[in-house]
């Protein structure tokens, strides 16, 4: 695996133009995981409930102890749109932006690939993969999967 600033890294395809994630201390685990191709969730270490967006305290039992857990990467499409005007930064063509309902029971915003806007259906099964960003980071994105 190539790392940032590694002079021996093989020449990469065209430089990614997608905006890098904004990394906060409470969500650093998520983006560190994404950099390694891992799709992680935050789980309370005391009552085992998952939560998103990440936060320093469990709203159920108020524990500040947390575990990072690997998520299945499977979910379904909840809503989807295509920003047309103005064109979003970081894309050659406007992407499909979607809210994905994860198998683990919460939603997040991401992109849908390998499908045309008019073919997307609510509840369509999708799976995670990773897309590169500026600054040698990665973000989780989704594509259709067989049921």
């Amino acid at each position: 695996m190539s790392t940032p600033n590694d002079p021996s890294a093989p020449a990469a395809p065209p430089k990614p133009i997608r905006l890098a994630p904004i990394v906060t201390l409470d969500a650093k685990f998520f983006w560190d995981g994404a950099d390694k191709g891992e799709f992680l969730g935050e789980q309370c270490a005391d009552c085992n409930k998952l939560r998103f967006p990440p936060r320093p305290m469990c709203p159920h039992c108020h524990s500040v102890k947390r575990n990072e857990v690997k998520l299945s990467g499977r979910g379904t499409v909840y809503t989807w749109i295509q920003p047309r005007h103005p064109a979003p930064f970081g894309f050659k063509e406007p992407p499909i932006v979607a809210t994905i309902e994860l198998e683990e029971g919460y939603r997040l915003v991401s992109n849908l690939y390998d499908i045309a806007l008019e073919d997307v259906k609510q509840g369509m099964p999708v799976e995670v993969f990773f897309a590169p960003t500026m600054g040698n980071h990665q973000v989780p994105v989704f594509r259709p999967r067989a049921k």
């Binding site: 904004i22 809503t79 047309r84 406007p94 809210t99």
Partner: protein, 388 residues
């Protein structure tokens, strides 16, 4: 001063012109609209003792005090949540007067939101974790190309539209109704410029397949100010007092201002339903007690969702209510009779609050007949204004 409960009223409203290039500073706009509102009330500017604005207003309280000559400011507060919380400024002003803490509360919002910066363009600057913006999760949208208010709105609106079979044409009827009001309002940017549904349907997609250009509010330069005092004092001032019967806010668990994707069911608005429930409980009133409503219309779906959230229609039925002309001037519930943020100007919802005041006073250019009460909503805050 003695701290006894006092009823609150709106005594003055003021505004600058609404434009796309004001040619002066935001502080000047703030000072001009504040002076206009105080003049409207007949209160000397030096008497202001409370000031409330939005967290994201760029003018400083002390800067504005130095313009107005405010001699002793007793209270300041700023409301987070952008336009969604606009009516919460009135809520706080009411509470201050009720509590006997202030006599003259000035609420203002002034911005060069077209000529100096543009809310409608991608918000890729300054979107790290900042308290006070009111929405915490925009950073979970940025790398995915959801970078404008229109995209954030659309990602939630689609669920509502799918659930109830609302089409973009249904949204278009909201825009047509509001532009009709704006067309006869000389203060509106779109004065004399009504639109047809066909023009709406041929306007370009901003976010496909949810919002077209004509579904979106404007970007505007301008300022609006409102003066709140006790009802008793307001009766002796220059204008007919507008009683604030009640006002409140509701931010249910897991609700955000615009990147609002984390609560259970995106086909409804828990914040509007929560505000409505609290407001009706506080006032003992119900939707049929209102003769008009001013509803925060950053985008057309907001109008339908809030009409349902406040109980003017059952869930999913607002589109038919609009289609049958019920938000027009002679309908059951005229809505955004100044043209709204779509037709008049986008002063972050404050110009719609001012229109609510004019309707109760009986001085609106598109005056609704026999107005006793008006509901004003900005999604997660609401208020009821009443004729005295």
């Amino acid at each position: 001063m003695a701290r006894t409960f006092r009823e609150a009223a709106i005594a003055g409203i003021g505004a600058t012109e609404f434009s796309k290039a004001s040619g002066r500073s935001e502080l000047q706009l703030a000072a001009e609209c504040s002076k206009a509102a105080l003049d409207d009330a007949g209160i000397h500017p030096s008497d202001v003792d409370g000031m409330i604005t939005f967290t994201i207003d760029n003018s400083d309280e002390i800067g504005l005090c130095r313009c107005l000559g405010v001699k002793d400011l007793a209270y300041t507060a700023r409301i987070p949540g952008g336009g969604a919380a606009a009516v919460a400024t009135i809520y706080q002003a009411m509470a201050l007067v009720n509590a006997g803490l202030c006599n003259t509360v000035l609420v203002w919002r002034a911005m060069n939101e077209r000529s100096q910066y543009r809310f409608g363009q991608p918000h890729t600057q300054n979107l790290g974790p900042q308290a006070g913006n009111g929405t915490g999760s925009l950073l979970w949208c940025m790398p995915f190309g959801a970078q404008t208010p229109a995209t954030w709105e659309s990602l939630a609106a689609q669920r509502y539209m799918q659930q109830y079979g609302v089409t973009n044409e249904d949204l278009g009827r909201v825009a047509v109704a509001q532009r009709k009001y704006a067309a006869t309002n000389p203060a509106a940017w779109f004065y004399g410029k009504p639109i047809t549904l066909e023009e709406h349907q041929s306007s370009k997609w901003i976010v496909e397949p949810i919002l077209r250009l004509l579904d979106c509010c404007q970007e505007s330069d301008g300022g609006v100010a409102i003066v709140i005092t006790s009802l008793e004092r307001a009766k002796d001032l220059r204008q007919k007092p507008v009683r604030i019967v009640g006002a409140c806010q509701s931010i249910p668990y897991n609700v955000e201002v615009i990147s609002n994707y984390y609560h259970a069911d995106l086909s409804m608005m828990p914040e509007a339903e929560g505000t409505a429930k609290r407001l009706y409980a506080q006032t003992g009133m119900k939707p049929t007690d209102m003769q008009a409503a001013m509803i925060y219309d950053a985008f057309t779906p907001q109008v339908l969702k809030q009409m349902e959230g406040f109980g003017f229609c059952k869930r999913g039925e607002a589109k038919d209510f609009v289609k049958s002309g019920q938000i027009d001037i002679d309908g059951i519930l005229p809505v955004n009779t100044h043209g709204g943020l779509i037709g008049e100007a986008y002063i972050h919802g404050m110009n719609s609050i001012a229109e609510g005041v004019r309707q109760v006073r009986g001085t609106a250019v598109n005056q609704v007949k026999k107005v006793e009460r008006v509901l004003v909503s900005s999604g997660m805050a609401g208020a009821i204004f009443e004729k005295v």
